[in-house]
């Protein structure tokens, strides 16, 4: 298969053009969806002239950023600790497996009471959603570290902390990245879903507002923005993953 990336581009562009055409030709009515070109226009317009744009976008992405950092760092540390205590791991195993079985938004009311209506709740929501994916990925990636690395650590007489930082972390990276991708995706969902439900600030709230006001152009513009942001983050993570794979698995 030559140039799958090219074909992908063709398919994506084709889909967008098809939707554009369908909207303009009236197959899809204006109330339901606006043409993609108009979504882009609306987004540009928003970013330059809407008074709320930068504060809402800033608020959302800031919360997402903190939530992601918390999920990843705390998730990795907790994963390290759980891995070092096999008994604890056995006991907690059902929790890790079933965590995502329960719709996480059920915890939102509780979080609001504890953290109030504000960025803290949103951040905790995002972090709570992403952290378990990171913990599970940390556990399974440390599992896969060849046992001989641990022996090298002991022969080199590293402390447990040095072993974790200098050996476990880099050795786990290929699999850890899968967890990081999930943690990022879930943190984004957690924050935005929280903004929908809490409706105090941020892009999620704007989305709900524009929906209620039948301002479909703005609504889709915002969706486009979030989509682009997620695509960029994802792309960056993919590249990082590819780089590591190339370095590790060249032969």
């Amino acid at each position: 298969m030559k140039h799958p990336a090219l074909w992908r581009l063709v398919i994506v562009v084709g889909a967008v053009l098809a939707i554009e055409f369908a909207c303009r030709a009236g197959i899809i009515d204006r109330v339901t969806m606006v043409p993609p070109s108009q979504m882009a226009v609306a987004l540009v317009r928003m970013s330059s002239s809407a008074p709320w744009f930068w504060s809402d976008a800033g608020s959302t992405f800031q919360n997402i950023g903190v939530a992601i950092t918390l999920s990843i760092v705390l998730g990795f540390l907790i994963g390290l600790v759980i891995h070092a205590l096999p008994r604890l791991r056995t006991v907690l195993n059902p929790v890790l497996l079933s965590y995502y079985a329960v719709p996480t938004f059920v915890y939102y009311p509780l979080l609001i009471v504890i953290f109030g209506i504000g960025p803290a709740s949103l951040i905790v929501m995002g972090a709570m959603f992403g952290i378990v994916a990171m913990i599970s990925a940390t556990l399974s990636s440390i599992d896969r570290i060849p046992r001989v690395y641990g022996k090298v650590a002991r022969v080199t007489r590293l402390s447990p902390w040095q072993t974790a930082l200098r050996i476990k972390l880099p050795a786990a990276m290929p699999h850890l990245i899968a967890g990081i991708k999930l943690a990022v995706a879930y943190s984004v969902i957690g924050v935005i879903a929280g903004e929908f439900i809490l409706a105090t600030a941020g892009l999620g709230r704007r989305l709900t507002l524009s929906y209620n006001e039948f301002d479909t152009a703005t609504m889709y513009g915002l969706i486009l923005l979030i989509f682009i942001a997620v695509a960029i983050i994802n792309s960056a993570l993919q590249h990082w993953e590819a780089r590591i794979h190339r370095r590790w698995y060249q032969a």
Binding site: V148, V152, R154, V155, P170, W248
Partner: protein, 267 residues
């Protein structure tokens, strides 16, 4: 008679027993082993699979605590911390895929109280000694298995170990490469003056490289016999054509044959 100062490693009654995976009973993996290794000698160990050779090595290294018996290194008890002055080369590829060859070798000195100029000097020397100069910036994934083992050996070298333990280091390599790597090992031994303990399943390798070869029984591994090879210190792989070499390997095989059969049938 060997004086106390000459004894580098001494094991007395070292035994290793661990609970069976199935949860029932125990596995008697090793021993009891009595062993003295002289300072500066090249000591080889052969034995059938599963006889506990690796466990023996890990006990000496301090990676595993014996269930019974004591082990001492330079007069002090080994315990379950790896003592200073011991280097280990493992069977599996232990080179770190995320570091270049240079950084891999440097890693060995991570804990050392050595200034950066000295680190650079030692790294340069080890890389040069193991013939890795052309690959300093390469990543292990770009190298062959033999080269990767050289990286691991270089990483061990930089710490200037007084005792070098090797657990089937050339297991994954082809015969010709093994012979050449064996020569390099001899060169290393002479150059560093370290005591070397080599675990191998290759009788030829043990016979060619060692001053003494110990033969282990099938599990639970015990020493059946120890043979002196009386080779000159500056030997290389060409001694395989000496008549005494053939006698030596025959002796080893005679000792080992029955034990190996037992191991094979034990499953």
């Amino acid at each position: 008679m060997v004086s106390d100062a000459d004894i580098h490693v001494a094991l007395k009654g070292v035994t290793r027993v661990y609970p069976a995976l199935s949860g029932q009973g125990e596995v008697h993996a090793l021993g009891p082993i009595d062993l003295t290794i002289r300072r500066g000698e090249f000591f080889g160990v052969v034995g059938p699979s599963g006889c506990g050779k690796s466990t023996l090595l890990e006990t000496v290294a301090g990676l595993v605590r014996p269930t019974a018996g004591t082990g001492t290194f330079e007069g002090k008890e080994i315990g379950d911390q790896v003592p200073d002055g011991i280097g280990v080369v493992f069977q599996e590829d232990a080179s770190f895929p995320w570091l270049t060859v240079e950084r891999n070798v440097e890693f060995g000195l991570r804990r050392a109280d050595v200034d950066s100029a000295e680190i650079a000097r030692r790294v340069d020397h080890a890389i040069d000694f193991m013939g890795l100069n052309a690959f300093r910036r390469a990543y292990p994934s770009q190298l062959s298995g033999g080269m990767r083992q050289r990286v691991c050996i270089a990483r061990t070298l930089v710490t200037r170990p007084r005792l070098i333990l090797l657990d089937e280091p050339f297991g994954a390599l082809d015969q010709q490469t093994r012979l050449l790597m064996g020569e390099e090992l001899l060169r290393l031994w002479r150059d560093t003056g370290a005591t070397v303990v080599l675990i191998t399943h290759s009788l030829d390798e043990a016979a060619m490289l060692s001053d003494r070869v110990a033969v282990m029984s099938s599990r639970p591994g015990r020493f059946i016999a120890t043979l002196e090879t009386n080779w000159p210190r500056d030997r290389d792989s060409r001694i395989v054509s000496e008549p005494t070499f053939g006698q030596l390997t025959s002796q080893l095989w005679t000792l080992l044959r029955d034990e190996s059969k037992k191991a094979l049938n034990a499953g």
